[in-house]
């Protein structure tokens, strides 16, 4: 007899594969709807005036075939793990992605950690001081966090913190005079720590701090609000009251019961928040000259670099699918009712 969780997982997995195909179809359709000609974007002005060169460009990139053929061809290559070659960088798209995805991952990951630490702390404080001044203050702060336009905050942070106050180091991932650490994960902080290059580690963290903080503003607000209500709910439950009645000291009650109970829904929300962090990178990366997929996506999209755009779409879609899957599994593990209704 199959375990219900297994069946639940299998079903979700099948849906995920369908979603992934849907993602490629949508990305492909949208990119081809964009008015414009990849040849115009990738050839020089003089070369563009030469039909022979334009024809060669189209043939090389398979643009001379009808769209459905192009799509099927793409899927065929995709099944073999071939994402094609970027028309701009003239490199395989997976090589490009291998370079840019870790940068974004590092930024979004740092922002997520920051949001979890700050957001959960704020949320717990607010819940415990419910309706007091601190709670009101944190409420306004968290609302401000979800209300501030990320692109504007990035600009402000860059102008004031970087330019006027000179608190943050320069743009990019590392000072240009520093050599990146040996590539293992692609995350500079992790790689530098693994190689024991502590000056590089410090440099990478320093470069990471400001953009991560800007990016985290929204998710900090989100997590503060969610944690607050999650903790309030736990605090109101019978077993917490019972534990207190048994005479356990307040601190132990808090850490053992309240946080543990509140943590799972919080992590679930954090998983979902990762998505909004990925969205945010599109706006933040350009201002901080962060070489991540946000910039890569924007540049590829405006240059109609179809293989690159498809690659980005797939990666982002895959991350979403995986995150959603994890979230659903967590729900399924915690709350068996979900298995039957989802």
């Amino acid at each position: 007899m199959k375990h219900p969780l297994f069946r639940f997982l299998a079903r979700r997995l099948a849906v995920s594969v369908l979603l992934a195909v849907g993602v490629t179809l949508i990305t492909f359709t949208l990119t081809n709807l964009v008015p414009g000609d990849p040849a115009a974007a990738n050839l020089g002005q003089q070369a563009l005036g030469n039909p022979a060169i334009v024809k060669q460009f189209r043939e090389q990139n398979g643009l001379d075939k009808p769209l459905p053929v192009q799509y099927v061809t793409y899927l065929g290559h995709l099944v073999q793990g071939d994402l094609g070659e970027s028309q701009q960088s003239h490199r395989p798209v997976d090589a490009d992605l291998a370079e840019f995805v870790p940068a974004t991952f590092e930024l979004a990951g740092a922002a997520l950690v920051l949001s979890l630490v700050v957001g959960v702390a704020f949320g717990v404080i607010a819940a415990l001081r419910r309706d007091r001044l601190v709670d009101q203050f944190l409420r306004v702060t968290s609302l401000a966090g979800v209300s501030v336009p990320t692109f504007w905050l990035a600009l402000l942070a860059f102008y004031f913190v970087f330019y006027r106050l000179r608190l943050a180091p320069g743009s990019g991932r590392l000072a240009p005079t520093m050599t990146p650490p040996p590539h293992v994960t692609g995350l500079y902080t992790v790689d530098a720590a693994m190689a024991g290059q502590w000056d590089v580690f410090a440099g990478a963290v320093g470069h990471l701090a400001l953009p991560a903080l800007v990016l985290a503003a929204y998710t900090i607000g989100l997590l503060t609000r969610f944690t607050r209500s999650a903790v309030l709910e736990v605090l109101g439950q019978d077993y917490v009251r019972a534990a207190r009645a048994k005479g356990l000291p307040g601190r132990v009650v808090l850490l053992q019961y309240v946080l543990r109970a509140a943590l799972v829904p919080i992590i679930t929300v954090a998983g979902l928040a990762f998505g909004s962090l990925l969205s945010g990178t599109v706006l933040v990366e350009s201002i901080f000259a962060w070489p991540g997929i946000g910039q890569y996506a924007y540049k590829s999209a405006t240059n109609l670099d179809l293989p690159a755009v498809m690659g980005v779409g797939l990666v982002v879609g895959a991350i979403y699918v995986v995150v959603n899957l994890i979230v659903d599994v967590l729900y399924g593990v915690i709350d068996p009712r979900v298995r039957s209704t989802t």
Partner: protein, 529 residues
Amino acid sequence: MPSLRSVPRRAILPVLVASAISLTACSGSGSSSSSSASGGKSLVIDTSFNLKTADPGRMYEQTGLLVDRALYDTLLTFAGSDVGKPVPALAESYELSKDGKTMTLKLRKGATFSDGSPVTADDVVFSLNRVRDLKGNPSFLLDGVTVKKVDDTTIELVSPKPNPALPFILPNPALGIVNSKVLQAHGGTQGADDKAESFLNGQSAGSGPYVLESFNASTQVVLKANDKYWGQTKPTYGRVVIRNVQAPTQKLNVQRGDSQIALDLSADQAQGVGGGLQVAKGASANVFFLLANHSAAVSKTTSNPKFVEAVRKGIDYPGLLQLAGEGSVQAAGIVPSMINGALPADQAPKRDVAGAKAALAASGIPNPKVKLEFPSDYTLNGLSFQPLAERVQANLKEVGITVDLAPAPIATALQNYRDGKEEMGLWWWSPDYPDASDYLAFLPGKLIGLRAGWKKGDAAALESAGDKAAQTIGDGRTQQYQQIQTQLNAAGPITPLLQPSQHVVTAGTVTGLALNPVWTIDIAALGSK
């Protein structure tokens, strides 16, 4: 739950404080650690990338020209800012035949590639043939030119028609000489089946003062000094990092000392940099122009010559120069001021609102409404197209013309432009080579003329004047080009607007900087004090 509430304040606040402290500590240590990593002086150049490849045979973008100028030597070159006279490089001398069809070059002895092997006549033939036959962006530079090795030190370039521009074309970094043996070992050929591009994006194979350490078309390019450089003067900087940074950030970086050169600042951005920094400025060779489609099939409005006259008289040129900032100049004709054959500044179009209104009335078009397309995501010398377009819109509104702005990403905008479907457009032209013949593209039936809906035969006299100028050598050449531009200004669909200013901000220690219209700056010529 009063007792519960009192506990966590102590438990949690220290965590927060600690994390805040670690943040500031990290950012503090990051900024102080920008010391040189490898031996020799290192140099950081910030520029807004327009870069696709480092392969000279395929490269034709602004940043690629900057990079390849340092990696590959060409047969001839320009000294500093002076593009009026090609000077020897890998060729020690050259001669152009009287009919202008044959160019003979004598190769220099003793030049070597970065792997130590000598630069030979075979390498030259291979390199130039490769560029011509790749069907790449720079192929047009050598259209129809035959490359012949006469002997081990003599090269002959033969053109089907008189080609007086050739000495001005050869300095283009796209025509850099590559090591043919190395290239052939890595898939290099002299034709469209060449596969050497990815190799050349990993390392260079030239004889220039620098070699390629790493290349990334969207983030940064790192050059290091060529240990085996054959030239007399070795480059000052051992390692050069060229980073992709948007113009506003370039300014901040150079002010903070994170970089030594900010390459493409607009005049606004370069204002008040202060702090021991140097500003090199001059008019750029790029020309912004306004296109009004000549084809009645595209637009009944812009194909009316009186309408175009109204536009030309309606624009407030000094006002546009204010937007472009100090150092920018009005483009008198389509040929920029630093190239022989440019129109004198006093012959530039002038604003005449009354004349514009009269012309508009004479056009017989009541309340004309036109669509102006321009690239929204492109900057040239730090200047974006949008403010210029908005100002043109305001200017023409005063005359009585309603302009509907249609910005689009450059890929989209370029397509309409190339297909000749734009009613009006705001575009630019950068010289392919510093010779007035490059600007014949603006005549009817030619590259830009066609984009403006100006077909062959639409202005027969002008076209034959162009054909004549293209083949004229020596005397009278300048006058011919000036006359062509006067006619273009009087009746053409193109209105030249301005040459933006080029501002390069450098740290006080950088010396020897000269602005060059083709490759912006020669990195190897930079010194230090």
